[in-house]
C-alpha cells in the first residue's frame, strides 16, 4: 500500500474529528452565553419594576391647628404630620368611619408619606394654612398589587390586602389618584425596612468611600512594589520567594483578609467597626497582589531597547524608569488596577468580618461613618421577608452590574487608547 492510500483511508475520520472538535468549542460558547443570558434576563425581569413606584395623590390641607402656629423649625419638625396625612385620606373616603376600617385605610399609605409632607413644610414654612395636592408613596403591599405581584382574583385570605382595601385602591385608580412614577427614592435614599422607602444611595456612597481608600493606597503601593521588583531588585532567592508569595496572595480567599482586618485594624489598632476606612484597608490588602502582578507584566512588556537607549544617552537608572519606562507601562498598570478595584467592589465576605454587614439608614458622610457597600445591601435585601424587597434586590444587582461593566469598559478604553504595541 502506498503512503497516500494510508492517508486517504484515515482522511474522512480526521475530517470528522476536526469537525467534532470545533463543535465542542461552539457548544462551550453557547452554553456560557445561555447561562449569562439566563442570569441577565431573570435579574432584569425581576428587577425592572423596581424603577417605578406607586404613588397616591392626596389633597393635603396644611392645617395650622394641627401643625401649630410655631414657625420655628425645631417645633415644626415634630408636629403631627401623620395626623395631617390621615385627615386628608379620611376626607377622600368619607364613607369609612369605623376605627378598624380607618386603620385599614391608613395602611394603604406608606409611613414615609408624613416625612414627605414634613420635608415640604420645613423647606417652605409658608405652606401652613394652604391646600396642596401632594404625591406620596403608597404602601409596599399596594405597590405589589398595582404591579401585579399580588393577584386581585384570589381569595381574600390569600393576599395581604383584603377586599375592602382592594375596592378603595380601585376607586383611587378610577379617579386617577394613584399612578406609577419613576422611583427617585430608590436612587436617593438609604436603607429602610419599608420596601417603598428603601434606596441604594447609602450603599453606593459607602462603596465609593471604600473604593477611594482602596485606590489611594493600593495603586501607589502596588506600582512602587512592582517597579522595585522589576527594575531594581537583583534576581536572587529572596526576590523569588517574594514573587511566589505575591502570586499566592492573589489566590487567597477574600474572607481571610476580612479576618486579618478584624484582628489587626479593629482589635489591635482600635479602628471603628463598620467604617469604610477599614473596609478600604481590607480591600487594599486584597487588591494589592493583583495590581503588583498586572504592573509587573506591564513593565515587562516595555522593550529593553527603550531602557538601553535611555541609559545610553546618560540617564540614571531612576531617570530611565521615571521618564521612559513608567509612562509606557502606565496604561497596563491602570487596567490592572481597575480590574482589581472591580473585584473589590463586588466583594462581601471580608466586609462581614469587620461589621459592614449592618442595617444603616443614614447616608455616610465620611470615611469613619458607619456604612455598608452595594453587594452587602443586596445580601441584606435578599434576606428580608417583605415581598417588595424581591424586586429591590434585583434592581440593586442591576445597579452593581452597571458599575462593574462601566469599570471594565473604562479598562478596555484605556488599554485601546494608550497602549503601545511593539
Amino acid at each position: 500500500m502506498a503512503n497516500i492510500d494510508i492517508v486517504n483511508k484515515g482522511l474522512q475520520k480526521r475530517y470528522r474529528a476536526e469537525k467534532r472538535f470545533r463543535l465542542y468549542g461552539i457548544c462551550a460558547i453557547v452554553a456560557s452565553l445561555v447561562f449569562l443570558a439566563f442570569l441577565f434576563i431573570s435579574i432584569g425581569a425581576n428587577g425592572y419594576t423596581a424603577f417605578q413606584q406607586t404613588f397616591v395623590r392626596l389633597t393635603i390641607y396644611f392645617d395650622p391647628t394641627i401643625l401649630g402656629e410655631a414657625n420655628d423649625r425645631e417645633n415644626i419638625a415634630s408636629a403631627n404630620f401623620p395626623g395631617i396625612v390621615k385627615k386628608s385620606l379620611s376626607e377622600m373616603f368619607p364613607e369609612v368611619t369605623s376605627r378598624g376600617d380607618k386603620r385599614l385605610l391608613n395602611s394603604l399609605i406608606s409611613s414615609g408619606a408624613s416625612y414627605t409632607v414634613r420635608d415640604m413644610v420645613i423647606k417652605n414654612p409658608e405652606l401652613v394654612g394652604q391646600t396642596y395636592q401632594v404625591w406620596v408613596p403608597a404602601d409596599d403591599d399596594v405597590d405589589m398589587l398595582i404591579k401585579g405581584h399580588i393577584e386581585r382574583g384570589v381569595n381574600e385570605s390569600e393576599r395581604r390586602l383584603n377586599d375592602k382595601q382592594v375596592s378603595w385602591i380601585e376607586k383611587l385608580e378610577r379617579d386617577g389618584n394613584i399612578e406609577k412614577r419613576f422611583n427617585t427614592i430608590f436612587f436617593t435614599a438609604g436603607d429602610s425596612r419599608e420596601p417603598e422607602l428603601a434606596g441604594v444611595w447609602g450603599a453606593v456612597v459607602g462603596s465609593f468611600f471604600t473604593m477611594l481608600v482602596t485606590l489611594a493606597l493600593s495603586f501607589p503601593i502596588g506600582v512602587a512594589a512592582a517597579i522595585y521588583l522589576e527594575e531594581f531588585a537583583k534576581k536572587n532567592r529572596w526576590t523569588d520567594i517574594i514573587e511566589v508569595n505575591i502570586n499566592n496572595l492573589a489566590a487567597v480567599p477574600s474572607i481571610v483578609f476580612g479576618l486579618l482586618g478584624l484582628a489587626v485594624f479593629l482589635n489591635f489598632l482600635g479602628m471603628p467597626r463598620s467604617a469604610p476606612i477599614v473596609g478600604g484597608l481590607v480591600m487594599t490588602l486584597m487588591t494589592l497582589p493583583v495590581i503588583i502582578i498586572a504592573s509587573r507584566a506591564a513593565l515587562k512588556s516595555v522593550p529593553p531597547s527603550i531602557r538601553e537607549a535611555a541609559l545610553g544617552v546618560g540617564a540614571s537608572q531612576m531617570q530611565m524608569v521615571v521618564h521612559h519606562v513608567l509612562p509606557l507601562a502606565l496604561p497596563g498598570m491602570l487596567t490592572g488596577a481597575i480590574i482589581g478595584m472591580a473585584r473589590a467592589l463586588g466583594e462581601t465576605a471580608p466586609l462581614l468580618m469587620i461589621g459592614m454587614v449592618a442595617f444603616i439608614v443614614d447616608i455616610p458622610s465620611g470615611f469613619t461613618d458607619p456604612s455598608t457597600a452595594l453587594p452587602v445591601q443586596i445580601f441584606l435585601w435578599a434576606d428580608s421577608p417583605e415581598r417588595g424587597f424581591l424586586e429591590k434586590t434585583s434592581a440593586a444587582i442591576m445597579v452593581l452590574l452597571t458599575f462593574l461593566i462601566a469599570m471594565n469598559a473604562l479598562a478596555v478604553i484605556l488599554r485601546k487608547k494608550f497602549e503601545k504595541r511593539w
Binding site: 390569600e158 429602610s192 425596612r193 489598632l269 521618564h323 449592618a358 439608614v361
Partner: protein, 358 residues
C-alpha cells in the same frame, strides 16, 4: 518630566493618605460615638431595625446601627467590655446564658438590663397547592432525627428507617419526607431543636429518663438531625425556602412566623398538635413552637451614647410593641398586657439583671 512629577505625586499621596487614615482611625476610636451600636440575633434584626428607623426619623438622633451577627456572636461582642468601641445593645432570640453573663462580668460589664420584646413562632409550612395536614412534635421527631427509637419498641436507637410520612404515622399521606430547614448556625435551628425535637424525643419515656441520667446521650438522640437527604439545609435565606416550597408541593419548610405572614398567598402553616400557627394562637401561648425574643442593654452606656434612653423608650412604647403596634405588623407576637407593663417599668427603672437569675 511628566513621569517624574507623577511619581513624586504618587509618593506624597500615598504618605498623606496613610497618615490621614491612621490618624483619623485613632481619632474616632478615642472620641465618643454619636450613634447607638446594636448587634445580635438575626431573628430580632427585622424588629430592631424597624424601631431604629422609626427612632432615627422622628427623634432627631442618628439612626442606630444594627448588625445581624447571630445571638451567640452578638453576646461575645457585647460582653467584650465597656467603652464606645463595644456595642451598647445585644439582641437575642433566647435568654442570655449564665456563662455569657459571667463572661460579661469578668470583662467589667456588670450592669445589664434585660428586656423581653415579644414572641416569635417557628412554623412548619408547605405550599398552598398541597393538602393541609396535622402533625405532632413526636411525628416530627421521628421524621427528622438521625437516630430514632427502634420501631419494635426496644429501648435502643436505630438509624432513621422512615422514608415517607405514612411510615411515621399511617394516618399521614404517603409522601416522601422532605423538609427544608435552617443550618446549625441559625438561632431558628436551635429553637426548633429545643422546642420540637427535644419535646418529641421526650414523648418516649426512656428517652425522657435519659435527660436526667445521661444528658450527653439525650442530646445526641434529640439534637442530631438526619443527613440522608430527608432534611435539607437550605441556608439562612428564608425567602429561598418559600420559593422552593412553592415549586415543590411535597416539601415542607421550617422558618420564622414573619415569613409565613408575608407569604400567606403561597404557603400555609401546618397545625402542630391541632393548633394552627396564627397570630392569636402564638400570642396566647396555645401554639407550642414559639420562643421569646430579648435584648440586653449595657447600662454603663446609657448616659454616654446620645439617644440611648430615648431609643429604649421608643422600643418599649405601646405604638411599637403593643397589640396594634408597628412591630406586630412586621410579624412580632406581642406579650400580654401585664407582661408588657412590667417590662416597660423595668426599662424605665433600668433594672439590673443578676447572673444568678439566669
Amino acid at each position: 518630566m511628566r513621569g517624574k512629577k507623577f511619581l513624586k505625586g504618587l509618593g506624597v499621596a500615598a504618605a498623606l493618605t496613610f497618615g490621614a487614615i491612621t490618624f483619623s482611625g485613632n481619632a474616632v476610636a478615642d472620641s465618643a460615638r454619636d450613634y447607638i451600636n446594636v448587634v445580635g440575633s438575626s431573628t430580632v434584626y427585622p424588629f430592631s431595625t424597624v424601631v431604629a428607623e422609626q427612632f432615627g426619623k422622628t427623634s432627631g438622633f442618628k439612626t442606630p446601627k444594627i448588625e445581624s451577627t447571630g445571638t451567640g456572636g452578638g453576646m461575645k461582642l457585647f460582653c467584650s467590655g465597656v467603652g464606645v468601641q463595644h456595642p451598647d445593645i445585644a439582641n437575642a432570640s433566647r435568654r442570655m446564658k449564665k456563662s455569657e453573663c459571667e463572661t460579661c462580668e469578668k470583662n467589667g460589664v456588670t450592669d445589664i438590663l434585660e428586656v423581653k420584646i415579644g414572641y416569635d413562632g417557628i412554623v412548619i409550612a408547605n405550599s398552598k397547592k398541597s393538602a393541609p395536614m396535622n402533625i405532632t412534635r413526636k411525628e416530627l421527631f421521628l421524621a427528622l432525627a438521625a437516630n430514632v427509637p427502634e420501631p419494635g419498641g426496644a429501648e435502643s436507637v436505630v438509624p432513621n428507617p422512615y422514608k415517607t410520612w405514612k411510615d411515621v404515622n399511617p394516618a399521614l399521606p404517603a409522601v416522601k419526607i422532605e423538609v427544608l430547614g435552617p443550618p446549625p448556625t441559625s438561632g431558628t435551628r436551635d429553637a426548633f431543636v429545643e422546642l420540637v425535637m427535644e419535646v418529641g424525643g421526650s414523648s418516649f419515656p426512656w428517652i425522657k429518663a435519659l435527660e436526667k441520667s445521661d444528658k450527653d446521650k439525650f442530646k445526641s438522640i434529640c439534637h442530631t438531625v438526619r443527613e440522608d437527604g430527608a432534611y435539607i439545609e437550605a441556608g439562612e435565606n428564608d425567602n429561598l425556602i418559600v420559593q422552593k416550597l412553592d415549586a415543590n408541593p411535597n416539601a415542607f419548610g421550617i422558618f420564622g412566623f414573619s415569613f409565613l405572614d408575608q407569604n400567606a398567598d403561597k404557603i400555609q402553616g401546618i397545625p402542630v398538635e391541632g393548633v394552627t400557627p396564627v397570630f392569636e394562637s402564638i400570642a396566647d401561648g396555645k401554639y407550642s413552637v414559639s420562643r421569646s425574643l430579648y435584648f440586653y442593654v449595657k447600662k454603663a452606656h446609657a448616659d454616654v451614647i446620645p439617644g440611648m434612653k430615648e431609643f429604649l423608650k421608643e422600643f418599649s412604647s405601646e405604638k411599637a410593641w403593643g397589640n396594634d403596634g408597628y412591630l406586630s405588623e412586621k410579624g412580632l407576637i406581642p406579650m400580654q398586657d401585664d407582661e408588657r407593663k412590667s417590662f416597660s417599668a423595668d426599662v424605665e427603672a433600668l433594672k439590673k439583671l443578676s447572673c444568678g437569675d439566669l
